[in-house]
């Protein structure tokens, strides 16, 4: 008898949980308004193409990091792609990429370096389909693959320059020591150390382990750092430590004001749309790939977004702008 009642209870609670899930289902716009009233929502641009586009990405489409930067970029181009996100299992991603190709999607964006190996096997099977893959600095010699990569060290350097004006002791929280993460961290260290700050960088070994990123940032804070920065979707843990200890924060990939509207000083934001627009133009004229394109400060693919809510000194800002100009002019080596 008791058992029956329990089953009923289970069913009822379960139904409530499901209803809750259903009611909240519409809330997927991945933005929040910062305290100073600036809306971080990316405005949808006029559609640049009639070709169908699909996106396969390793983390969530609204991760305030790597994957969101791509979704935002597509939005700016007026493109609403079909999305398979959260596919950190490479074989699953490969299945999704192949599936889109079989469906006849024109352009498939494989937004993860680790997908490269699978792409090299899939792309030749679908010569009519164009694949866009990154971050990667070469297209593996495939005619129907475009590759893209951010020169993340450039924005890292600029962030480092500003950071050095705020503190002479800086803590960095990296995920896995690879790809754009390591470029960003090393560029940041170069910029900071060139301006007299000392730095300590720790890679947690995981793109997603928030607890580890939090503990790492806490260790930095206990060591007395005056500035924190970090990259990957796990960086949200480090941002929270910055908030709790009132330590200025520098973001990268996407604008991290969504995480910390008060303490984010500046973010290097990836505007993939700059190279994507280029690629799409080429695809429409019949060139399906064969090239790698870089995001740089010069071509507008990397944008330093300053937080209006953070009161940055004019000196620091002009030092940053000078650094940007020098990097573009090739007078500062950020690597």
């Amino acid at each position: 008898m008791k058992a029956k009642r329990l089953v009923k209870l289970f069913a009822v609670i379960f139904a409530i949980a499901l209803t809750a899930a259903a009611c909240g289902g519409g809330d997927s716009t991945a933005t929040s308004t910062s305290e100073c009233g600036s809306d971080l929502a990316v405005a949808k641009g006029d559609s640049v193409t009639d070709l169908s586009v699909a996106l396969v990405a390793p983390s969530a489409k609204d991760d305030v990091a790597f994957t969101q930067s791509m979704v935002d970029s597509l939005t700016r181009l007026g493109i609403e792609p079909q999305i398979t996100d959260g596919t950190f299992v490479v074989e699953e991603a490969a299945a999704a990429i192949r599936g889109y190709a079989e469906d006849g999607v024109n352009i498939i964006i494989a937004h993860g370096t680790q997908y490269g190996g699978s792409l090299a096997e899939i792309a030749p099977d679908f010569p009519e389909t164009s694949f866009i893959w990154g971050t990667a600095s070469d297209n593996q010699g495939l005619d129907n693959v475009f590759a893209y990569f951010p020169e993340a060290d450039q924005g890292g350097y600029v962030n480092g320059v500003i950071a050095a004006s705020l503190s002479d002791n800086i803590g960095l929280v990296g995920p896995v020591e690879a790809g754009d993460a390591v470029a960003y961290i090393e560029g940041f260290i170069k910029g900071a150390e060139a301006n007299g700050a000392s730095t300590s960088a720790v890679y947690t070994g995981s793109f997603s382990d928030v607890a580890l990123a939090t503990t790492t940032a806490q260790a930095h804070a206990d060591n007395g750092v005056g500035v924190l920065t970090g990259t990957s979707q796990s960086a949200v843990g480090a941002v929270n430590v910055a908030t709790a200890n009132d330590i200025p924060w520098f973001g990268t990939q996407s604008n991290t004001e969504a995480w910390s509207s008060d303490l984010t000083v500046a973010s290097q934001v990836y505007h993939w749309d700059v190279v994507l627009a280029d690629m799409i133009t080429k695809i429409e004229s019949g060139t399906l790939g064969g090239e790698a394109m870089a995001l740089t400060l010069e071509n507008g693919g990397l944008v330093m977004e300053f937080n209006g809510c953070y009161d940055l000194s004019a000196d620091a800002k002009s030092a940053a702008e000078a650094a940007i100009a020098d990097i573009i002019a090739g007078e500062i080596a950020t690597k």
Binding site: A3, L6, V7, L9, F10, I13, A17, A20, A21, G24, G25, D27, S28, A30, T31, S32, A60, K61, D62, D63, V64, Q68, G86, G171, E177, S200, A201, V202, Y203, G205, S206, S208, D209, V210, A211, L212, T214, T215, T216, Q218, A219, H220, D222, N223, Q233, S234, V236, G237, V239, N240, T243, A244, A258, W259, S260
Partner: protein, 317 residues
């Protein structure tokens, strides 16, 4: 190296270790009670994920930590009812049912997070003693006490709750009738049954307490980190189960295990941040907590016997 051995760095590392250990401790204490009654729950990680999400989402919506903690416990309690029903009344294999609970929690918490939240939005962190509304002022000077101030007072209330739970669980298991029943049904359910102790009821309650604590552990984790994310626990619940074996089903040794695990982890990260461990060796260093836990068990507690009826379903016929 010298940098590490300054008193302040050592104490800060210890403080981090305590913070790190709290979710492990809560989950492992809960698991201890369950296992003492003869029920292995491998689903702790899944319950923590669900409890952690419930707490996070509640705080996000209501701004109330108390409500969040309540929801975390309630979610744990609910999953406990499911688990207890399946293992105690339906006599399902415990290890496997636990894997089922784990997988369900892993998937369902992620599903709810993606549908209800999406973008990981930080919530306001759990206040440490000095930041408690109203009474915070009392603790502020205490934290400034040299040497031990930060170590003893720079924590949130859940930390103290978890630590107080250690003697409480010991008392509950060793000194109360309920505890005696729990140990009896864990050791020899037939004998306990013949003495008129309801095996099913005792195990049911033990599981509910354990799961509620697992839910609370998840809530503690997400509120301490002030965030939720896919697979937030990253296997923490499994380590908590392992710590029960490490602690030989004794709350005080479970505490020792949780602190050891937290300390080794905190030390590794601290050493990395001070460049004592080079980046190239960081992965090797990350093995340390796991290896030390195994070795400690090999050396210290190799002949401890667990509850005799652990994982064995009981039925009268």
């Amino acid at each position: 190296m010298s940098q590490f051995f300054t008193v302040s760095v050592l104490l800060a590392t210890l403080a981090t270790a305590i913070r790190f250990a709290v979710p492990y401790l809560l989950a492992a204490l809960g698991e201890t009670i369950g296992q003492r009654s003869g029920v292995l729950n491998l689903g702790v990680d899944g319950i923590m994920l669900l409890g952690g999400f419930g707490a996070y989402y509640t705080v996000l919506e209501t701004q109330s930590h108390l409500a969040g903690i309540g929801v975390g416990i309630a979610v744990g309690l609910f999953m406990g009812i499911v688990y207890a029903y399946v293992t105690v009344f339906l006599h399902a294999e415990q290890g496997i049912s636990g894997i089922g609970i784990f997988l369900f929690g892993l998937g369902f918490s992620d599903l709810l997070f993606q549908e209800l939240v999406g973008t990981p939005k930080p919530i306001k962190p759990l206040p440490t003693l000095d930041k408690l509304p109203g009474v915070g002022g009392i603790f502020e000077p205490l934290i400034d006490i040299p040497v031990v101030g930060e170590l003893l007072f720079d924590h949130n209330l859940l930390t103290y709750f978890a630590l107080l739970l250690v003697p409480f669980v010991t008392w509950l298991l060793m000194k109360t009738t309920f505890g005696m029943n729990v140990r009896a049904v864990g050791e020899n359910p037939q004998a306990a049954d013949s003495l008129g102790v309801s095996v099913a009821k005792t195990r049911f309650i033990a599981i509910l307490i354990g799961s509620s604590l697992a839910g609370l552990a998840g809530a503690t984790l997400s509120l301490q980190l002030a965030i939720f994310q896919h697979n937030l626990t990253n296997g923490l619940g499994f380590i908590a189960v392992a710590l029960v074996y490490f602690g030989a089903w004794q709350p005080r040794w479970v505490l020792a295990g949780a602190l050891l695990y937290g300390l080794v982890t905190a030390t590794r990260i601290r050493w990395q941040s001070l460049d004592i461990i080079p980046q190239s060796a960081s992965d090797i260093a990350a093995m340390a907590p796991a290896i030390i836990t195994i070795l400690a068990l090999v050396l210290l507690a190799s002949r401890v016997r667990g509850p005799a009826a652990l994982t064995k379903p009981f039925s009268r016929h």
